[in-house]
């Protein structure tokens, strides 16, 4: 479904990704593990078209994503829930969610249904639906961000550190939600620091270090990998 082949990405003269190749098959939940600054976010930014790779190819289905605008990429069903949330702070929570469905804007009834589903997942948002998103706390905003991504009806959902700054209780819920989304048929690519919880729901995972993929495997093999345990699970 998603295929990176030898992707390089530069910020100025600094090479953040070098020769990254990875794939996610339909229905899979794939986790990216890596320390801070390893390049996880960069992979996502490349996929969703915010940053342009300098070499390689990114295919989504049979479509080449490099060179496409973010808007086109979202339309094709790849939705990115970014690190740092990037909400519309002065707009109400509901409006934020609605805009998540911008590419499906003609389907009013569908949007309403999806919003209700998101409220089902995060009841607090229903209570806060008329508050400006910026007035919510960090964790609540993260929920809005995930909700907004879901409204884009992703075939492939990119989740960048969704548990960052969330209370343990909420983190647990978030992982449950991710698993549920995945089980309902959405392919998920998840970047996480919280390696244990992430691996617990993953099918496969990649380990990325300093812009290189250094390890790849299914859940079991990684959970049992000594190096991984030492570095990311502790």
């Amino acid at each position: 479904m998603l295929r990176f082949e030898n992707v390089d990405l530069h910020y100025g003269s600094f090479r953040a990704l070098s020769g990254v190749s990875l794939r996610a098959a339909p229905g899979e939940l794939v986790v990216l593990l890596g320390a801070n600054g390893a390049g996880k976010t960069s992979i996502f930014m490349a996929a969703s078209g915010i940053n342009k790779p300098s070499a390689g190819s990114i295919r989504f289905g049979d479509r080449e994503l490099i060179g496409q605008r973010p808007a086109q990429i979202v339309e094709s069903g790849l939705v990115h829930c970014p690190e740092g949330r990037k909400l519309f702070p002065m707009m109400s929570v509901r409006k934020n969610l609605t805009l998540g469905a911008y590419v499906h804007r003609r389907d009013k009834a569908g949007i309403q249904r999806s919003i209700d589903e998101v409220f089902g997942l995060f009841p607090i948002l229903e209570k806060k639906q008329d508050h400006p998103a910026g007035s919510l706390s960090g964790g609540q905003q993260q929920m809005v961000a995930i909700g907004r991504a879901l409204l884009g009806r992703p075939k492939l959902l990119l989740l960048d550190e969704p548990s960052l700054g969330l209370a343990p209780l909420i983190v647990k819920q978030v992982f449950e939600v991710i698993q549920r989304i995945n089980q309902a048929g959405t392919t998920v690519l998840l970047a996480e620091q919280n390696a244990y919880s992430a691996l617990a729901i993953a099918h496969r995972a990649y380990v990325i270090e300093r812009g290189h993929i250094t390890l790849e495997g299914d859940r079991e093999s990684l959970l049992n990998n000594e190096a991984v345990r030492a570095a990311y699970i502790g």
Partner: protein, 333 residues
């Protein structure tokens, strides 16, 4: 090593400036240069508050007018000797700057900028309307040239050139001291992040006000020199066009660099003088030229040069520490 290089550079500039009148074919070029030096003094001040402290002041030109008018009013209406009036010009702009600073520096970002734009407009209107003090739109004429000091006399273009040059040199020296000291570091801390600066115990208001007052004193002295050089003052000196010119100088040269305002002032002045032949089409050419400069040399001339040098230095270092990647220095004024 770098220090010597810097010193040598400054010495070279000084030598050039000292020798310029000897090679200049006529007084016209000398008076262009004199006026450019005066503007450069004001631009240095603007660079302190905008480039180093991050507060984008749009009233700078008006403060220059305040300095000029102080000299004009005192010398013409009250027969105060030029140099006393000159010193008072600094005092008056400083005091006025202090109060305006207190009022405006509570605002942040664009609010501050546009507020100061309005302050500038109010000052302009005051100069234009307060006829009993400023002579209103009629202007002040007959301002004396700077009076002689001991054996020195300042009534020829050449003497004025060296006089203004001396003040410019003094201005640069003081500025260099400031920005390289702990004080300068406080200014830059405020520019880089005021929240953080405050959390580190830097008194925002005090620091910003100090920088503001210092910067407008530069403008005040520049204005005072202007009065002695042009010898006539009209309210237009306080119009925002002067401020925009100053901003342009700073930006073209390189904001937040010591040399930038100087280079920018000389280059833009030279450009406007050379484009004179275009007459009324001048701005049709100058406008796009300015835009192009901004787009293709965003750090200004000096900024770009410094950055290139920094990158080269970094590249040399990167060889020695292979595992550490170096991103290009981000500039964010």
């Amino acid at each position: 090593m770098r220090l010597i290089e810097g010193k040598a550079g400054w010495a070279l500039l000084a030598a050039l400036a000292l020798a310029f009148p000897l090679v200049a074919p006529n007084n016209y070029l000398i008076s262009v240069a004199t006026l450019a030096f005066i503007m450069a003094i004001a631009a240095l001040g603007l660079n302190l508050i905008t480039g180093y402290t991050g507060q984008f002041n749009l009233a700078h030109g008006a403060f220059m007018a305040i300095g000029a008018y102080t000299v004009g009013i005192l010398t013409v209406d009250h027969q105060v000797p030029f140099w006393i009036a000159f010193a008072l010009a600094g005092v008056v702009t400083g005091v006025l700057g202090y109060f305006i600073g207190l009022l405006s520096l509570r605002l942040r970002g664009h609010y501050f900028s546009i507020f100061t734009l309005c302050v500038s407009y109010i000052l302009f209107l005051l100069i234009e309307k307060w006829e009993s003090l400023t002579h209103g739109p009629v202007g002040i004429m007959g301002i004396p040239a700077p009076s002689g000091m001991g054996p020195l006399r300042f009534d020829t273009p050449l003497a004025q050139y060296y006089l203004v040059l001396a003040f410019l040199a003094l201005g640069i020296w003081v500025m260099a001291r400031i920005v390289r000291s702990l004080l300068g570091r406080s200014f830059m801390a405020v520019r880089n992040s005021d929240d953080l600066a405050e959390a580190l115990g830097i008194d925002l208001m005090r620091t910003k006000t100090l920088s503001f007052v210092l910067s407008v004193i530069y403008a005040g002295f520049a204005g005072a020199l202007y009065a002695g050089q042009v010898r006539f003052l009209g309210p237009d000196l306080a119009s925002e066009a002067v401020t925009f010119d100053l901003i342009m100088f700073v930006l073209v040269g390189g904001v937040g660099t010591l040399l930038g305002p100087l280079v920018g002032t000389f280059l833009v002045t030279w450009l406007t003088q050379s484009l004179q032949f275009l007459q009324d089409y001048r701005m049709v050419v100058f406008g796009p030229l300015l835009v192009a400069l901004i787009i293709f040399l965003p750090d200004g001339i000096v900024g770009t040069w410094l950055k290139r040098r920094a990158r080269r230095a970094d590249a040399v270092q990167a060889d020695t520490r292979s595992h550490v990647a170096v991103t290009e220095a981000k500039s964010n004024a």
